[in-house]
Symmetry: C2
Subunit: 168 residues, 2 copies
């Protein structure tokens, strides 16, 4: 059984975003039940100089749409980063999922060895597809999903590890 780039990208990204969506839904439901202004959660941070919840969701979606597009050799869909509510964040996740669903196995075939260029602090940095996925995109995705989870947990939302790991 050969391992394809598709297998270790699209379904993995989709699952992480599905879990992020479910985590945000629990946050929104908790805010409603406790009569907490949802923007308190949306703007909450783990540290004063870390990004708030909304930005965590934006970057998580950026990580996967950027990775999928670069590996497929197509333009990265650009979103405006203006989300300020749970429904808007869900819409961003849904738009990202729709983009991921549009990527075919053929588009990613052989992309493990493809050269991709990232702008990092103003400099162009080149990666091969597989080390980019394993060393940048996936850890980055999980960093921001976990931080979104941690922000909501810190604020009393009842979440467990299975909300993060999810099924499929």
């Amino acid at each position: 059984m050969a391992i394809s780039m598709y297998q270790i990208t699209i379904p993995v990204f989709t699952r992480a975003l599905n879990n992020l969506s479910a985590i945000l839904n629990k946050g929104a439901a908790h805010a409603e039940a406790k009569k907490i202004d949802p923007s308190v959660f949306i703007n909450s941070r783990i540290a004063p100089d870390m990004f708030p919840l909304a930005r965590q969701v934006q970057i998580a979606t950026d990580a996967v749409k950027g990775c999928a597009a670069r590996l497929a050799g197509i333009d990265i869909p650009s979103f405006e980063d203006t989300e300020t509510s749970f429904p808007q964040l869900q819409e961003r996740i849904a738009k990202t999922q729709a983009f991921l669903n549009s990527i075919t196995e053929a588009q990613l075939e052989g992309s493990e060895g493809k050269t991709v260029t990232l702008k990092i602090r103003g400099n162009d940095v080149e990666f091969k597809g597989l080390p980019y996925l394993s060393g940048v995109a996936l850890p980055n995705l999980y960093f921001h999903v976990t931080t979104a989870y941690a922000i909501l947990r810190h604020n009393g939302v009842e979440l467990g590890k299975m909300d993060y790991l999810g099924g499929n």
Copy 2:
């Protein structure tokens, strides 16, 4: 260029643990500089019913040694979960790294299709090697490394995303 299970496990695990080790070193240095009892950090949590820092490190190491051993079809090294200090956590990471370094490419060859059995809440759950890696082991690893990072950030330790993503 074919993708091997070795490529997407051992070097990825090693890099995440190297970064975790560096993050903990910054935590220890911050405690020393600010004359904070290191056990305050070791026992700190993001939420009262989340695990403290020490346990995050234990589970992160468990995630990778369990995955590597199951895929290789060898016994999982057992550690006692008694660490209560930064040096002891570093020692646990070093022991895990030594185990990862002992795994050869040949031992993991073809393990993407291998059946592995996990005990989840008392039940045996079967996975194939690749979905186990992509859907359980990797997200779990990054969850606990990110949570360790978040605990220290929340406590004022100066860390940035590059400490988490690391080089190699």
